[in-house]
């Protein structure tokens, strides 16, 4: 694997963004170029994954970037990052293609598409980065563009809509930057202890011990917890998701949250000592609180988008719970659940956006009996909701099942009783998830008990051909990963053993 493949994967979205911007000076051709760009990046990522090995084999890009402080331009692709890279490029391609026919209010669709491509570059860079500071830098690339996406194209309906949208955008920005700044503090502390920013070296030889190492691990966890998000640092998320335009919500939920979970696997596990008595149980505890809290919050939601947003908090809880168990099975579960959540929640946000477009509202109190009007759209929502609540045979099942299993058998140095208890509570969260999704489907899609008539649609018509085109890759992936989990689990296991060594 040569430098062209990896550098090119990061550069391709930027180049395509620049082209879209040039073409898009006049007319709407820019969006088409951007959608094409999404496909180019997708193809490039497939190429990169095909030529890469499942374990990091030393053939990565590694040159000095700022020699004076030991920051290196170090990129690599292995079995842990490859699934996330592919999932991201697919979701971005879908989002960009969706933009061609379905432009959000606010105009300037080309600019929106360009921003999405810039976000994609940041995301791919983060997944490839093997240097702490480089990861941090790419992590930040996505922020300003995402802030613009929410601030400019977000939903400004309702009283004080504009002010609320602005608040959602700024809150997203400030929370995330606060988190990543704290993470950066953690990273420089890690360097003070380990002597390098290179995560491969750190994973191979760093033995965390002492107060500074603990402080570093806590700060890194805090930073990632904001991004993931982990309860109680999730408060930026519901607003950001529900105010963002459809493609913004899709990207935010499906991809940007994964930077946090990926960070836990790649950059947190190596700087943590499983022998520390309280750190992992506390993080795992917060994750489980998040699962239950999110499920209860979902039961109380009256807005479709907010409901999906809160359900994300719950799913991310499973991922973090799995990561804290410090086992091979845990890492497998975390990657699997991350990819599955990306596909399924991306699809859900697309579908909910389509409902909102058709009826002009996402208010669960007003949406009634939609099956009668838009049976195919309703069917897809039901399908995605089933996948999200973890129906066996669909992608969502394996991640949550494996996460709970890994929590029952955590690393030997962790307090097993605590983790078993957490696993039981998390399993209870799965049941609650079924409850809120079924309640949502019953109230919005089946005719409720009152038998009230469905609301008057703003735009008539069921799923269009273009929407089928955009959504079908996600639907297909949900099915494939539901029936063939081995596709993902094997490479992840190989890469994890090579990267982290002594996991069970």
């Amino acid at each position: 694997m040569n430098a062209l493949v990896l550098n090119g994967l990061v550069a391709a979205p930027v180049v395509m963004a620049a082209m879209a911007m040039l073409v898009g000076r006049r007319g709407r051709a820019g969006v088409g170029v951007a959608a094409f760009g999404g496909l180019v990046v997708l193809a490039w990522s497939v190429w990169a994954v095909v030529v890469s090995t499942t374990a990091l084999d030393g053939s990565h890009v590694d040159v000095a970037w700022v020699e004076a402080v030991g920051i290196r331009w170090h990129l690599g692709l292995d079995g842990i990052s490859a699934p996330l890279v592919l999932m991201s490029t697919v979701v971005f391609a879908c989002a960009l293609i969706a933009l061609v026919r379905n432009a959000p209010e606010g105009g300037g669709t080309t600019a929106l598409a360009v921003l999405l491509l810039v976000i994609e570059a940041g995301v791919l860079g983060s997944f490839l980065a093997l240097d702490l500071v480089l990861f941090f830098a790419f992590f930040e690339v996505a922020l300003i563009p995402m802030w613009f996406v929410i601030d400019r194209w977000g939903d400004a309906h309702g009283p004080r809509g504009e002010a609320l949208r602005r608040r959602a955008a700024t809150r997203f920005l400030v929370f995330t930057v606060l988190g990543s700044a704290l993470m950066l503090v953690g990273f420089v502390l890690v360097r003070a202890e380990a002597g390098t920013f290179d995560i491969v070296e750190i994973a191979a030889s760093y033995q965390p011990s002492g107060a500074t190492a603990l402080a570093a691990a806590v700060l890194v966890a805090l930073g990632l917890a904001v991004k993931t998000p982990l309860w109680p640092l999730h408060i930026w998320l519901p607003d950001a998701h529900s105010k963002a335009p459809t493609v913004g919500s899709v990207v935010l939920a499906a991809v940007l949250l994964k930077l946090g979970t990926y960070g836990f696997l790649r950059f947190w596990l190596p700087v943590v000592d499983p022998g520390w008595e309280w750190l992992q149980p506390v993080v795992a505890g917060l994750a489980v609180v998040g699962i239950v809290y999110a499920a209860l919050a979902c039961l109380a939601q009256t807005d479709l988008k907010r409901l999906i947003a809160y359900s994300s908090v719950g799913h991310m809880g499973f991922v973090v719970l799995a990561a804290t168990t410090f086992t091979l099975g845990g890492v497998q579960a975390a990657v699997y659940a991350s990819v599955a959540h990306g596909i399924i929640t991306g699809l859900l946000f697309f579908l909910v956006g389509a409902v909102k477009d058709r009826y002009g509202t996402g208010d669960l109190g007003r949406l009634r009996a939609l099956y009668g009007q838009v049976p195919r759209l309703g069917g897809l929502v039901a399908f995605a909701a089933m996948a999200s609540l973890g129906l066996p045979g669909l992608a969502g099942f394996w991640g949550e099942m494996l996460a709970i299993r890994s929590a029952v058998f955590p690393d030997g140095s962790l307090p097993r009783e605590t983790f078993v208890l957490l696993a039981v509570i998390a399993a209870f969260g799965v049941i609650l998830a079924s409850a809120y999704f079924l309640a949502m489907i019953r109230s919005a899609f089946q005719s409720g008990e009152t038998g009230a008539a469905p609301p008057e649609p703003v735009v008539r018509g069921d799923v269009t051909a273009w929407e089928w085109l955009t959504w079908s890759p996600l639907v297909a992936a949900t099915l494939v990963f539901g029936v063939a989990p081995g596709l993902l689990l094997t490479p992840v296991a190989e890469a994890t053993v090579a990267f982290l060594g002594g996991l069970r």
């Binding site: 970037w65 020699e67 004076a68 402080v69 940041g122 950066l184 420089v188 402080a215």
Partner: protein, 502 residues
């Protein structure tokens, strides 16, 4: 009494600026006010002559700076300490000095170019303005090479005295006069305090040479309490110059009252001079007392960035916002001082120097665009920047870049790396770094507020475009190109800068 041999190459850079200052004054005298300072389109090309001379002088002064870079260590104006003792020098160059000279020369050239925006206005006497600017810059060069407390203080005054006049330069503006007076009073008090501190240090150690002071402290000069008092008083005096909280009160009014080019000068070059003074006195003269002064500076740094950021949040006036943001940025630059341990000053202070180098051209870029917008909107409300990207992309994009770089976010990668460097240098004082991390997030709120205005659709599309003066255009271009270049290849700037102290 022997005549000293002087190393002319070492003193060439400050000399060039001083000579150029006299030259500008003579041009002013011979050409005459009436022909230099005509307002508006009645002005002749002559009005740009002093600016051109100033930029030329900085370019000429850059030549010896570059020549020295290969073998930077030189010293002159030396005396022998006793019969057998080491040579003690008042004026010496090394890598650190040269980096700072680069900052000052670049900054002065950009400030002179920004100043051309005021030519049209015709309210700023061009001859005086450039004479004062060059004099002050000559002082700033000297301070970086000074190696004894007296030279350092005199050089600091050479920086400051012209700066008072600069702050009040705008003719017939009572606000400018008030700003200048406030600045003057604060500065005089701070100088007096610094002098007091220096006299205490001299009293205990018996020398004004920084190296001799350091040696004396290392040998355990007594009484230590007087030494510490001297160190803290000196710090207080210099803290006024860098506008560290609680000695920052003069900043907003002075920046707003002064012409924008002067505000840019105060926020970058004059402030950098204060930081160099701090680095020399604390890092070179008193590293042995770091246990006493480092915690004080750490608290000061935490206060400075927090107060600067929180007050910047409420500003709606662009220059006032930049003023408070520059207070906050000064806090970041102070952070590594808090991590200095006795005997290891260089590693930590390299973080400050690196941040200062980055901050210099980023902040100048923001001021340069503010100068352009100021030609049409003297009120400098943030809403005046609405739609700047669409209306005048040549000014809008550089400002957007400068703002994200000041906030420390990509695509302003160089700003992000500057923060990484400070974090890295100060990682041993974890609480302070955490405070800084929180501040970075607070600072983002007001940078984002400004950024949002830039990208909002313009009120009237294509109705009118800015008439960007050529000089300011060059200033914007220089800072923007530097920012973009160093964001892609940060090693080109940061590696040599950090190597001088690391």
């Amino acid at each position: 009494m022997t005549v000293q041999s002087i190393d002319w190459l070492a003193v060439a850079a400050p000399t060039v600026l001083a000579v150029a200052a006299v030259l500008v004054l003579m041009v002013d005298a011979f050409v005459g006010h009436d022909r230099l300072d005509l307002p508006g389109d009645r002005g002749s090309g002559l009005a740009l002559l002093p600016s051109a001379l100033t930029v030329l002088a900085t370019a000429v002064a850059a030549v010896p700076t570059v020549l020295l870079w290969q073998e930077p260590v030189r010293s002159t104006f030396c005396i022998e300490d006793g019969v057998e003792g080491p040579l003690l020098c008042s004026f010496a160059t090394d890598g650190f000095t040269l980096v700072f000279w680069g900052i000052v020369l670049f900054g002065t050239a950009v400030v002179a170019l920004i100043g051309t925006a005021s030519v049209v206005e015709g309210r700023i006497p061009q001859g005086e303005w450039h004479f004062l600017l060059l004099s002050s810059a000559a002082g700033a060069l000297t301070i970086a090479a000074s190696r004894d407390l007296i030279t350092l203080l005199v050089a600091l005054e050479v920086v400051s005295l012209p700066a008072f006049a600069l702050a009040g330069l705008r003719r017939g503006d009572p606000r400018a006069a008030e700003a200048a007076l406030k600045f003057f009073l604060v500065s005089v008090v701070s100088t007096a305090v610094t002098l007091m501190g220096i006299s205490l240090l001299y009293g205990v150690t018996g020398s004004v040479f920084l190296d001799a002071v350091a040696a004396s402290v290392a040998q355990g000069a007594e009484p230590e309490s007087v030494l510490i008092a001297g160190a803290l008083l000196t710090v207080v005096g210099l803290a006024f110059k860098v506008a560290a909280v609680p000695f920052h009160m003069w900043v907003p009014d002075t920046y707003v009252g002064a012409p924008i080019a002067v505000a840019a000068y105060l926020s970058v070059v004059s402030k950098a001079a204060g930081f160099v003074g701090l680095m020399l006195v604390l890092g070179r003269g008193l590293p042995g007392l770091a246990d006493a002064w480092a915690p004080v500076v750490a608290v000061m740094a935490a206060l400075t960035m927090t107060v600067g950021n929180v007050l910047a949040l409420r500003q709606d006036h662009a220059v006032r916002l930049l003023a408070w943001s520059s207070v906050a940025q000064a806090g970041y630059i102070l952070v590594p001082f808090g991590a200095v341990r006795p005997g290891a000053a260089g590693d930590a202070l390299a973080g400050s120097l690196g941040y200062l180098a980055v901050y210099a051209f980023i902040n100048l870029g923001a001021f340069a665009v503010a100068a352009v917008v100021g030609t049409r909107h003297p009120a400098q409300r943030l809403s005046d920047y609405r739609g700047l990207i669409a209306e005048e992309p040549g000014a809008g994009w550089p400002l957007a870049f400068a703002l994200v770089a000041l906030a420390g976010l990509p695509p302003g990668v160089i700003g992000l790396l500057a923060k990484v460097i400070v974090f890295d240098a100060a990682s041993s004082v974890t609480w302070l770094v955490v405070v800084m991390a929180v501040n970075v997030a607070i600072g983002l709120v007001y940078y984002a507020k400004w950024l949002r205005e830039l990208f909002r659709p313009a009120v009237s599309v294509g109705a009118s475009t800015y008439d960007v003066p050529n000089g300011v255009g060059v200033a914007i271009g220089m800072t923007f190109v530097a920012g973009v270049l160093f964001s892609v290849l940060p090693g080109w700037l940061l590696d040599p800068v950090l190597a001088t102290l690391g």
